[in-house]
């Protein structure tokens, strides 16, 4: 086995060259180049993470904006509905007031007219009563020859007519 036979002669040479080569690998490559490569990887990972975070932030911002817009839209819609309701109500009230006023005027006129009619009826009735009393007296006079007191005649006619 050459590894054992040669060991006394080559050991220091192997040790020396191994230490030189491994030392260079460790210090130049392992400690010099490796951290830079890792740094690149970390930088990239960080950038990707940052981009994702930014995208997430933008997304939530957009969602917030949309929610806000929705809320504003809802508020505006509610306001519009309220205004329409109010307008409807006030117009209805105005119409009612106008109708009421017109009805009042009409009532007044009707009242006046009925009063006139009533007085006309009363007057007519009084005349009818007077005429009927006269006629009654004359009929009684022609038939029986009794002179009836106009007062009694008016009384009796009134009593018959107003039954």
């Amino acid at each position: 086995m050459p590894q054992i036979e040669q060991l006394p002669f080559i050991f220091f040479s192997q040790l020396f060259w191994l230490l030189v080569v491994f030392g260079i690998i460790f210090f130049v490559i392992g400690r010099g180049m490796l951290p830079k490569i890792q740094g690149t990887v970390e930088l990239r990972d960080k950038k990707i993470a940052d981009d994702l975070e930014r995208a997430q932030a933008a997304r939530s911002e957009a969602e917030a904006t949309e929610a806000e817009w929705r809320a504003r839209m809802d508020a505006a819609r509610g306001e519009a509905a309220r205004l329409a309701q109010e307008a409807k109500q006030s117009s209805a009230q105005a119409t009612e007031a106008k109708v009421n006023a017109a009805a009042d005027q009409i009532n007044v006129k009707v009242e006046a007219a009925s009063a006139k009619i009533r007085s006309a009826v009363d007057a007519a009735r009084a005349e009818i009563e007077a005429v009927a009393a006269d006629a009654t007296r004359e009929m009684v006079d022609r038939l029986t020859g009794i002179q009836v007191d106009p007062k009694d005649a008016a009384q009796a006619v009134k009593g018959k007519l107003n039954v």
């Binding site: 002669f9 040790l15 060259w17 690998i25 392992g30 830079k36 690149t40 990887v41 950038k47």
Partner: protein, 258 residues
């Protein structure tokens, strides 16, 4: 491979000096082993350099590099937790180095005369040093963070007082065996696979030289070696993964003492 006609499956593990070098009284010659270590270094550096454009939208090379670093990152995060971040460079170096060294040893370079790929991780001096390094880091981190309280690692919660010495001894032994199992597992997996491939490779050569029955054996060996080569690719990746994974698990023990 073999010198002369005799096939020696162990010859592939021989280290040949290329440039003699000395540091004081120590021989630090530049050998085939050192050369393949450097090849691994260059490959890893080149691969990582392709991922250094640091674009926000990565190209395919950057994705490959980031996939590898992310894999180690995840492994450390899952096994140690957020505190494990500072150990990522070490685990990463360990994993990539072992993986590339393992895979380099599988390159079929021997088809080019004079060239032969050499598996640096098939030497226990290499895997052993790596294992000792991981184990030392575990010890240092453990004692630095928990002081002598680190010894409570060897006494699981709820152990009856009577059982404590026995449990302590068992846990201590299993703890101390860790570096050996760590280093030997990789070494043995590499050397076994390579010997297997070498042996079946030699079966193919001598089979096709040895008449009708030999051709049958050679053909069978060829089919078999295809499977073994695929399996070896898997073993290369798994052994690198296991080494890195066990290191993170041991580190987890030291950091998050139960």
């Amino acid at each position: 491979m073999a010198a002369g006609t005799k096939i020696d499956p162990m010859h592939q593990f021989t280290v040949e000096p290329l440039v003699p070098l000395h540091l004081g009284k120590y021989d630090i010659s530049f050998t085939t082993s050192s050369a393949w270590l450097l090849v691994a270094l260059v490959l890893i550096f080149g691969f990582m350099a392709l991922g250094m454009k640091r674009e926000l939208v990565p190209g395919r090379w950057q994705v490959a590099v980031e996939g590898l670093t992310g894999f180690i990152d995840d492994m450390v995060k899952v096994n140690i937790g957020p505190e494990g971040k500072k150990y990522v460079p070490y685990i990463f170096s360990l994993f990539t180095f072992i993986l590339v060294a393992n895979l380099l040893g599988l390159l079929p370079l021997a088809v080019i005369p004079g060239l032969h790929s050499f598996t640096t991780t098939s030497h226990f001096s290499i895997t052993g040093v790596l294992a000792v390094m991981s184990f030392s880091i575990v010890l240092i981190v453990g004692f630095w963070r928990h002081g002598l309280h680190f010894f409570s690692l060897f006494v699981p919660h709820g152990t009856p007082i009577v059982m404590v010495p026995l449990i302590f001894a068992i846990e201590f032994i299993s703890f101390m065996v860790r570096p050996f199992s760590l280093g030997l597992r990789l070494f043995v997996a590499m050397i076994a696979g390579h010997i297997l491939m070498e042996v079946f490779g030699s079966f193919i050569v001598s089979g096709f030289n040895g008449g009708a029955v030999g051709i049958g054996v050679g053909a069978l060996s060829f089919v078999f070696i295809v499977g073994v080569a695929a399996l070896e690719l898997l073993v290369c990746a798994i052994q690198a993964y296991v080494f890195a994974l066990l290191t993170t698990l041991y580190l987890n023990d030291a950091i998050n003492l139960h």
